[in-house]
């Protein structure tokens, strides 16, 4: 399914589209018809308070949680029923909440597992070097166990490991969570750099200001539905948003 309206909007085709997405956890409804789109090359921020359903949205896209209704379209094709390990193959890289590095394995082994689906060993080595130059602290600690890294280093490892899968769309869940302000800036600068290089990114954040500074567009999710959407600059200046999330 193609959307001529989107291409005239931005000149780019939609990569990911959520249409009326609903998710239930038992008898609790977490998402009430979420509508969202990420175009090729865009950095889209998904904002909202704790418990609004941001992580659930990402989990539904990557196949970890089955939607109750609605459609998830990837390049126009419906992802319904595909298991998580098949969805990764399509180019959707999900860096989950809470870092989730493999603590008992080395930094290098974690990164190599990020490329588990790939067989192009020369290109994998090249990407490994690129990750180490992007995150020099990981290069220093490449033989250490991932469980011994600091919180910020684990976050960087989790991002780098997702990059090792060469995703078309990088989905990040709260990469700034628990990081010192200086590290938040560092992570955001790296994401902005990846975006400049053409990577499409869907960034889930509670730190709305940091996310909107680097994003093209943003969505605000409240109680399982999109309450506000628009260009990042416009959202940054939105009175209601400023009052509730930007602390101004």
């Amino acid at each position: 399914m193609s959307s001529p309206k989107a291409s005239s909007d931005f000149g780019n085709s939609p990569l990911l589209q959520l249409q009326g997405l609903q998710v239930h956890y038992g008898s609790v409804q977490a998402l009430h018809g979420v509508e969202l789109m990420v175009r090729q090359g865009e950095l889209v921020a998904l904002l909202g308070p704790n418990g609004a359903g941001k992580s659930t949205t990402l989990r539904a896209i990557s196949g970890l949680t089955a939607p109750a209704a609605g459609r998830i379209l990837w390049r126009g094709a419906c992802l319904a029923g595909l298991p998580a390990h098949r969805i990764v193959r399509l180019g959707i890289g999900h860096c989950p909440e809470g870092r989730r590095v493999l603590a008992r394995q080395s930094v290098a082994a974690n990164l190599e597992l990020g490329a588990w689906l790939r067989r192009d060993s020369a290109a994998i080595r090249h990407d490994l070097d690129r990750c180490y130059s992007l995150f020099p602290r990981l290069a220093e600690r490449r033989q250490q166990l991932a469980g011994g890294l600091s919180g910020g280093e684990q976050q960087m490892l989790a991002i780098a490991r997702t990059l090792m899968g060469r995703p078309t769309l990088l989905m990040l869940d709260e990469p700034s969570l628990g990081l010192a302000p200086r590290l938040v800036e560092e992570v955001m600068a790296i994401l902005a750099g990846l975006h400049r290089d053409g990577l499409s990114i869907l960034l889930v954040e509670q730190n709305a200001e940091a996310a909107l500074r680097i994003a093209d567009r943003g969505y605000v999710l409240e109680a399982g539905a999109i309450s506000l959407a628009g260009p990042a600059r416009q959202l940054l200046n939105d009175e209601a948003l400023r009052a509730s999330y930007l602390g101004a």
Binding site: S62, G63, L64, P83, A84, H85, V88, R89, G93, H94, P96, R100, L102, A103, R104, Q105, A109, E112, L113, G114, W116, L117, R161, T162, G165
Partner: protein, 310 residues
């Protein structure tokens, strides 16, 4: 000196078998966090399959008295096929006793009961077919192998040496595979964090099936090896080894591969130190060791701390 060497070798051989059983538990435990209680029954199955594949016949008290397979394979081939048979049955156990519960997100502890049930059904089917009494492997099962070898003045049953070598080789191959291969690394990723593994593109359900396949093969190998070195004392004999393997598992530390190997050897050697006149005390000794180790190190010899994640 000879007696000591002899004792050590016997102990190491028995310990190797315990390590195989404990490794089988470890593989499944590491990916699912539960114990597969059907492991002992698969051990029995391995022993009986090896016996039948080598041309053994069913006794008069069995369900098909006098029946035997129309083939008589050499020991090595029979053992490998028996291991493959136990591996396939282990997959069936996963399908029947574990997968339905996982699909419904049931309490993982429930699979202790379902796997115990699957094991009891299997052992009782074996008893129906083969009868309750023991079987000895036909004389000359290990054709070409002298019954006894001399080693540094000690006279050792060569089957014990063979058993020890096979166990060592299997343990070594499994460890190398887990550490170095693509599948082994995927299995360890699933063991550590199934969700992350899925997001890396690893089919965690396939890895769970692989863990059952391997653990079934280990049980089948153990059963065939014990059968040829001692005998098949009855369909329940694997349950005894299964329980001993559980002891070893806890002794070495739940989920730890080196722990399962070290625990198996320790248990085998300790038992071998019990004088043959007091062999009734063997199991008492096993549990005394377990008691002392758990008193000093509640997580087992090489186990990790129970609370790892904050």
């Amino acid at each position: 000196m000879d007696v000591l060497l002899q004792t050590l070798l016997n102990g190491a051989a028995a310990g190797g078998v315990y390590a195989l059983v404990a490794l089988g538990y470890t593989l499944v435990f590491s990916v699912l966090g539960v114990i597969n209680f059907a492991q002992g029954a698969l051990f029995s199955l391995g022993g009986y399959l090896t016996y039948l594949l080598m041309g053994g016949h069913i006794s008069v008290s069995g369900g098909l008295p006098g029946w035997g397979l129309p083939i008589a394979l050499p020991f090595a081939a029979a053992l490998l096929l028996a291991a493959a048979g136990a591996a396939l049955l282990s997959l069936l156990v996963e399908r029947l006793a574990f997968a339905p519960l996982r699909r419904r997100n049931a309490e993982p502890l429930l699979s202790l009961i379902t796997s115990l049930g699957a094991g009891l059904v299997l052992v009782n089917l074996l008893q129906l077919l083969m009868g309750a009494e023991g079987y000895a492997f036909p004389a000359g099962s290990l054709a070409g192998l002298p019954a006894v070898v001399s080693l540094g003045g000690a006279r050792i049953r060569s089957v014990q040496v063979l058993l020890l070598l096979i166990c060592a080789a299997v343990v070594l191959l499994l460890t190398l595979w887990l550490e170095g291969s693509r599948g082994g690394r995927a299995l360890r990723a699933v063991a550590e964090d199934p969700t992350t593994a899925r997001l890396l593109g690893i089919d965690s359900d396939a890895m769970v099936r692989l863990a059952f396949l391997l653990s079934g093969a280990l049980a089948g190998l153990g059963g065939g090896l014990v059968g040829v070195s001692v005998s098949l004392p009855g369909p329940y004999f694997g349950i005894g080894y299964g329980l001993k393997g559980l002891t070893v598992l806890v002794l070495g530390g739940l989920g730890s591969v080196p722990g399962a190997i070290a625990g198996g050897l320790l248990m085998g050697l300790a038992e071998a130190m019990v004088p043959s006149g007091a062999s009734g005390w063997r199991d008492a000794l096993a549990f005394a060791i377990l008691f002392v180790v758990l008193l000093l190190r509640p997580t087992g010899l090489l186990g990790r701390r129970l609370v790892e994640k904050v």
